[in-house]
Symmetry: C2
Subunit: 340 residues, 2 copies
């Protein structure tokens, strides 16, 4: 894979949304991270770079490593430690995706055949383990016990969140509190840790590290709620996802939990049949979307996401204003307002 600086044309194409603008602002850092990712996912056991390359090297928006880079850069950190740690964060994320796809028996990821579909579940589990171990090796090279603590805690919390999600799947009695704990753990915790680590590397105060952590946590929650809403109503082209995936699997997400809370007895029966028993016919998804609109829970859920986004933007107030801080603010809005 060739790693070249982005051409002007590619840069302006990328800059159309806040994530693209962040990528342009942090372009040199991101190239260094991509080079590290490629270098450190190598192994003479050929299946490892093949499978890892399929997932990590080829695609992905690198949102989590970008958060680490942005957080370090926000505080004017001039060293290079954030590159290795951003690669760690991406390795942890990749390991999670590989294991997730085995758990979900997914055959698609980022618009391509998933690693488990191509290489088998066994290889996906084991290469996930390798990337996870490699991520800890990178952290240990960095040598900061504070960073190790943050990222190992995040890893344990993510695993807890995934197990919790497994327990709530197909359970229409799942509460909003349970849902929020799941998304905090499985999604937002790594966003939070990625941001916090950047501030730690920059040697900032406990309050500033906590503020960056809060930004990441709120971004992760807002992003995931929006994602769960989009699963029912996305109008844009979603990368590697189809409308209605969550519904098909019987995932208990915020719009559904709120619709069930307001459901008539007949509607409750409908949700139980579709989400608990997974007894679905072709027209059921349309009916589900109609019910979500009837009870206005899609708008409700996005309002909830907006509240988290507001908290996240307020957390950034400890940081001096800069184009980077503005991009992070815009990213927060984009996480909620995107149509894909």
């Amino acid at each position: 894979m060739k790693l070249s600086l982005l051409s002007n044309k590619a840069q302006s194409a990328r800059a159309e949304n806040p994530l693209g603008r962040l990528t342009v602002l942090l372009n040199d850092d991101l190239l260094a991270v991509n080079a590290l990712i490629l270098q450190r996912m190598q192994s003479d056991v050929k299946m490892i770079p093949e499978l890892a390359g399929h997932l990590i090297a080829a695609g992905g928006k690198r949102i989590r490593p970008l958060l680490t880079l942005a957080s370090a850069a926000l505080f004017g950190y001039a060293g290079t430690r954030q590159h290795k740690l951003a690669a760690c964060v991406e390795f942890i994320h990749a390991a999670t995706l590989l294991h997730d796809d085995v758990v979900d028996a997914s055959d698609q990821r980022r618009g391509k055949a998933s690693a488990n579909a191509l290489f088998g579940n066994e290889a996906a589990v084991l290469v996930g383990d390798f990337l996870f171990s490699r991520s800890f090796q990178l952290m240990i090279e960095d040598g900061s016990l504070d960073v190790l603590r943050i990222l190992s805690n995040a890893s344990a919390v993510i695993a807890e969140g995934e197990v919790m999600q497994l327990s709530t799947a197909n359970d229409t009695a799942t509460t909003e509190e349970q849902y929020k704990r799941v998304i905090r753990s499985k999604t937002a915790e790594l966003f939070a840790a990625a941001c916090e680590v950047g501030a730690v590397v920059a040697g900032r105060s406990a309050a500033e590290c906590q503020a960056m952590r809060d930004y990441g946590m709120n971004l992760g929650i807002a992003f995931q709620i929006s994602d769960d809403v989009l699963d029912y109503v996305a109008t844009g082209k979603r990368l590697g996802k189809s409308l209605g995936d969550d519904f098909k699997e019987g995932k208990m997400t915020l719009p559904v939990i709120r619709a069930i809370a307001k459901a008539t007895p007949a509607e409750k029966k409908f949700w139980n049949r579709c989400l608990s028993d997974l007894d679905q016919s072709d027209k059921d998804f349309k009916e589900a979307v109609a019910l979500l609109h009837k009870h206005d829970v899609l708008k409700d859920s996005l309002d909830e996401a907006r509240r988290y986004a507001g908290q996240g933007i307020r957390a950034l107030s400890v940081v001096p204003d800069s184009p980077l801080r503005q991009s992070l603010e815009e990213l927060m809005v984009f996480a909620v307002e995107r149509d894909y």
Copy 2:
């Protein structure tokens, strides 16, 4: 689970083999480790302690944590750091077992239904991830970057070994060199790391740490070769394993690799049909055992295991003589000479 000191009767029953004698010698340490394991595998996500308890709390010989305890005690270390690190080693081992059973689609482990059979593959993958993360959290509490380096390297090497084993399965062209790399990585590396960590905690010289590492590495290799031989000829009761499991899965182990090297064209066809194509009938296992005897490769393989055992025992010569050192020497012999 009640953790009580062993009664005299239980102690003498346990002391019938070297592993039992090691358990008696290190009884107080092992009780502390068991208590830590129970305490630190907790989570308010109920499925985690349920599943982990099924695997870790209930059974297992604790051979790897015993190696850490023995290694620290050999050098007269008087602190308690080895307890937490022995628990780490067991957590890494347990995570590996959980992922292994998913990979092998096993329905038995340690003579009981395997965790994946009872709780599902998804839960086994995710709880494995949790235990792995928890193990790193424990190491970080200990705070030694040397220990972290040793155990994170071991974790990466184990994952590489498992992927390599996946690539060689059902490939009758697998070489002895490939086989040895697989067993060094997937089995012996954690034995080596477990021993090394004990010496590191005791603050010993690089040469002494390396000697303990060598002991563990050789023990692991000897143990695994013997295990691979026993899969064809065990006469004792094997905990949770049946005769012929490796044959049924088409695993390429030392006796088979050596028998294929000496095979007639007709025999080569037999091995290809049974191990590559997995086209097996009831009488094939008996035929396989007969071929292994015909070419004398079972004895050959055990002789190879004995050579590793000899090297491991010699590695211990840096340590003053003691009942503990004698038990470790006997354990090495037992690893090869057991009938189960």
